[in-house]
Amino acid sequence: MSCATPLVDAFNRRISYLRLSVTDRCDLRCTYCMPERMTFLPRKEVLSLEELHKLALAMIDRGISKIRLTGGEPLVRRDVIELVQALGRKLGDRLEELTLTTNGTQLEQFAGDLAAAGVRRINVSLDTMDSALFEQLSRRNRLAQVLQGIAAAKEAGLKVKLNTVALKGLNEGEIPFLVEWAHAQGHEMTLIEVMPLGEVEGERVDHYLPLTAIRDRLEQRWTLTESAHRSGGPARYVDIAETGGRLGFITPLTNNFCASCNRIRVTATGELYACLGGAEKVDLRAALRSDEPDANLAAALDEAMRIKPERHHFKIERGEAPAQPRHMSLTGG
């Protein structure tokens, strides 16, 4: 197999990380992600598992060395484990890491399979450990299932990182306890500022909580030291002496991290968004379903590199339309 030109954009950023959504469906309805009545994509518009596989292989050939499966909720896609297994076979052969982000509800069922396929680390979204708040935020009563899923992942030997969205007035007070619990369990955790994607119920700005506020609160309780650790992503880390764990902060609105971006996102319908916060995209599905898929795919990827913007323009203001009309559920975070 020849090594095709690696993906490098107009700002000389080497693109090595693909975030691939395998579905827009989810078994939860987190209020900041999608509305209760969501219009889901018709099945024929969604890439088949074979198409997803072919796309991923083409990407690996262009130098993508890390693939994260996302959604919606990736584990609700039927037979997705087959895709995980197929991609897992590329590990060590130009693919260095295969991972996924999940809400955890299906982990008890799939943790073992994921580990067997070569997944080593996963991200689990968890905003609260309070059942009532969980139901309020996700509109589903599934906290116990999620916690058991996290335990199953740990038992299967998967390293878990919890992703927690900071929501003012909702989980704000609970965050220190979440951090403590996560670290006691041996999990890492990352706190995320709420991002303005998609029209959802309620005003997102009401729940916007700058992470500096949380950091101050944590510093009253614990000793935080800046960590030199870099994951190649937007998170900045601190080490917490008392819990022995590491805490990441992702602050898209207050800290611009675009200069070191290494990633692209593909939706379940094969649209490649060059930037989470931008509208620039190319249609990979059209290429895949054309008469010359390989050539057209290569051309589409080159185009994506040309149009990738230098930075995002996220901001949240009351009454303002979201920066991007598409929901977070289309690409995952």
Binding site: E108, M129, D130, S131, L143, A144, L147, Q148, G149, A151, A152, E155, F177, E180, W181, H183, A184, Q185, G186, W222, I240, A241, E242, T243, G244, G245
Partner: protein, 156 residues
């Protein structure tokens, strides 16, 4: 998922937080029984140090959890144990069991605690004004273990 076993090397740990998470993971249980062991606030004791042996300690705790799960019909078992230096009054160990019936929850927690005291790979020493002193196991701890064997012979 039935088993929540952690060996805690840092001291930013509150049993209440772990218990709440455990309860949230087992909402169908009829009851939860728990025990917290603390560093006895003893005049003259400035600190307590627990040491462990990595190849044995956590695997031993996990095996104990499995044993407990095998012996009683439980929804879940939790064993969290600190290692390292602690102050008087600090929590050392948390054991909790969730079950349909309270008798199972109580007995399982009791069984796990007895085995953590006498069978788990930890060593304790306390700091007094004249230095560190190793703590020897008490005869009571071993007698405690035996009652679980007598009981199982009775039901056999």
């Amino acid at each position: 998922m039935a088993r929540d076993v952690c060996l805690l090397e840092s001291d930013g740990w509150t049993p209440a937080v772990a218990l709440e998470a455990f309860a949230a993971a087992h909402p169908q249980a009829g009851g939860l029984a728990s025990f917290i062991g603390k560093v006895r606030p003893d005049e003259g004791v400035e600190a307590l140090e627990l040491s462990h042996y990595a190849p044995l300690t956590l695997p031993g705790m996990e095996a104990l959890a499995e044993q407990t799960l095998a012996r009683w019909p439980l929804d879940g078992i939790l064993i969290h144990h600190r290692t390292g230096i602690m102050r008087p009054g600090a929590p050392i160990v948390l054991v909790a069991a969730a079950a349909r019936h309270r008798r199972d929850a109580f007995e399982a927690a009791d069984f796990a605690m007895d085995h953590l005291k006498s069978d788990a790979w930890f060593w304790k020493r306390e700091k007094r004004s004249d230095g560190w002193h190793w703590i020897e196991p008490r005869a009571q701890d071993h007698a405690d273990l035996e009652r679980w064997q007598r009981d199982s012979r009775r039901t056999a």
